[in-house]
Symmetry: C2
Subunit: 289 residues, 2 copies
C-alpha cells in the first residue's frame, strides 16, 4: 500500500487514564518522539482551559516529553495570532482536549491556526484528540444527539469536522453513553461512511495507510454501511425511528484493528506479522506494555 | 413454509403505552380473540402484584376483553395449585408482566403451571410478555448485566428461559438502557443465536412460521452472528472486552420485520404482499392503526 504523506492520528474516546500506566497517552508521546517530543495541547474545546492545561501538563511531563506547549484558543480571534501558530509549527505532536467539538471547529476552522495544523499533519506530525477532540477528526462530525435512543434523524446533529480522516464518522464515550443509535443515524444518511465508536479509556491509532490499531482498556465498535441493502432515511420524519438492514458490526478490543481502506477487521496477529516483516510504520508499544 | 403448531408470541421491550392508543396491547388482545378474549395476566415477575394487576386490569378492560384473570404466583408452591392452572387453561391469551425474569422461571419452571402454559402455547394460545416477561421467552435468557458497557463475559449473566422461542436471545429496554454490549456478549459465546433487542414501547409479534413483525413507537435491533468470522470469547477473562468480527445488524421500526428461519430482514411491503396473497396468518392490525 502506498502510504499517504501525513501523520498518525490518535483518536481517544474520552476519559483516558492519566494516573495509572497511561497506555494511550504514552503511545501518543512515543509517536511524537518520546523524550524528544514537543507536545502542544490545544484547549480550544474546553471552557476551563486553565484546569485542563494543568492536568495534561502534569501527565505529559510525567511521561517525559521534552517540552509542553499550551495552545489556548478562547475566541476565534486567538486563532489568527502568531503565537499559537508558532507553537503548532514547533510541536512534534498536537493534542486536542475534550469539551465541545463545535468550540474547536468554530474557533479554528478556516484560520491560520487551522492551516498550520493541517500543514503539520501533512508533514507527519501526530495529532491526537480525546472526546470532543476525537469527534473533530473526520470530514463530518457528530456534534450532538440523544444517548440511549433508537436511531432517528433528530437524534444526531452533524457538522463539518477538521477533515483529517476521510469516509469516517467518529463517536466517543461510545458504549458508556449508549451512542450506537446516533452513530447508526449518521450511517443511515450515507452508508458510504464507516462509523467508528470509541469507548472511554480506549483509542485508535490511525496510520497513514488507513489501518488503525486499538489501544486501551475498552473497545472500538466499527459499523460498516457498505452492505446496507435498505434504509428509509430519506423518507423518515425527524422523530421517526429509522430502518436499516445489513450493517456489518465489529467489536475490537486492544491489539485488534481495522483496515479502513479494505474494510476488514484485523487481529493482533495481523499486526505482529507486519512488524516481523518490517513493512510497517506501526506505533511501537511502550516498554512493558 | 410449514407452520409449526403453536401460538403467536408478543415480546415487548417494556414500558408499553397503556394510556394512549395502546397499539401493542391492542394487537395482543386482537390475537387473543378481541372482544371474545379471555386474558390471564401472570404476575410472577413482580414484587408488587396488586399494583401491577390493577394497572393491566384497567387497560385490558378498556381494550374490551371479555374476561380478565389474574394468575398470581408469589411463591413456587402457588404454581402447583389447581386454580392458577385452571386460569391458564381457560385463557385465550397469556400475559407476563415485568419485574425480575428469575422470579418467573424459578417459580414456574418445571411445575404444573409451566406444563399448562406450554400446552396452551402448543394449541395456539398467544403468549405475551413485557420486560422480564419478554426475556423469559427464549431457550436461554439474559438475567442481568451492565448497561452502557463494552461486551465482556462478566457483563451478561444468562440462565435457562421458558423455551418458547428457539435460537434467539431477547433483550429488552434495549436502546433506552444501552444494552447492545450485553447482547453482543451473549452472541460472542455462541454466534449461532440471533440476538433480538427490543426497545421500550415496542414489540415483536412472532408467528408460528418464525417470521416476526415489529409494532410500537421505537425499534428492534437484530444481531445475526452467523457471519461472525472471529471471536475470542473462549480465551477471554471475564472482565476483558471481547473481540467480535462480522456481526450483521438490522434496525427494524414498526411495520418492518425479520424471518428468523431465513435470517432476512423484511420491509412493510413484504407483509402487505403476504396479506394480499392470503397466505399469512399475520396478526391483523387494530382498526384505525
Amino acid at each position: 500500500l502506498a502510504e499517504r504523506e501525513h501523520g498518525n492520528l490518535v483518536i481517544i474516546g474520552g476519559a483516558e487514564d492519566k494516573r495509572g500506566p497511561c497506555v494511550i497517552l504514552r503511545q501518543f508521546v512515543e509517536l511524537a518522539g518520546g523524550d524528544e517530543a514537543v507536545v502542544a495541547v490545544i484547549t480550544a474545546a474546553t471552557e476551563d482551559p486553565d484546569a485542563v492545561s494543568r492536568s495534561y501538563r502534569d501527565v505529559f511531563e510525567r511521561l517525559g516529553v521534552r517540552e509542553l506547549l499550551i495552545v489556548r484558543v478562547d475566541r476565534r480571534a486567538d486563532a489568527f495570532e502568531r503565537e499559537p501558530v508558532d507553537r503548532v509549527e514547533r510541536a512534534s505532536g498536537l493534542f486536542f482536549t475534550g469539551g465541545d467539538q463545535l468550540r474547536i471547529t468554530s474557533a479554528i476552522g478556516g484560520t491560520p491556526l487551522y492551516d498550520a495544523l493541517y500543514k503539520a499533519y501533512e508533514k507527519g506530525t501526530v495529532i491526537a484528540g480525546t472526546s470532543a477532540g476525537a469527534s473533530v477528526m473526520s470530514d463530518t462530525m457528530i456534534v450532538g444527539g440523544e444517548d440511549d435512543e433508537a436511531p432517528k434523524l433528530c437524534t444526531t446533529a452533524m457538522a463539518p469536522g477538521m477533515g483529517l480522516l476521510r469516509q469516517v464518522v467518529v463517536d466517543q464515550h461510545f458504549a458508556q453513553r449508549g451512542r450506537i443509535g446516533r452513530l447508526l443515524s449518521a450511517l443511515a444518511q450515507n452508508p458510504f461512511v464507516i462509523g467508528v465508536g470509541v469507548d472511554e479509556d480506549t483509542a485508535i491509532v490511525v496510520r497513514p495507510s488507513g489501518v488503525f490499531q486499538v489501544v486501551g482498556s475498552q473497545t472500538v465498535t466499527v459499523l460498516d454501511g457498505r452492505a446496507v441493502v435498505h434504509t428509509n432515511a430519506s423518507e423518515s420524519s425527524p422523530s421517526e425511528p429509522l430502518a436499516l438492514f445489513g450493517v456489518i458490526l465489529h467489536i475490537l478490543p486492544t491489539g485488534h484493528g481495522y483496515d479502513l481502506t479494505r474494510r476488514t477487521p484485523l487481529g493482533p496477529g495481523d499486526f505482529q506479522s507486519e512488524e516481523r516483516a518490517g513493512k510497517s510504520n506501526m506505533a511501537k508499544g511502550p516498554r512493558g506494555q
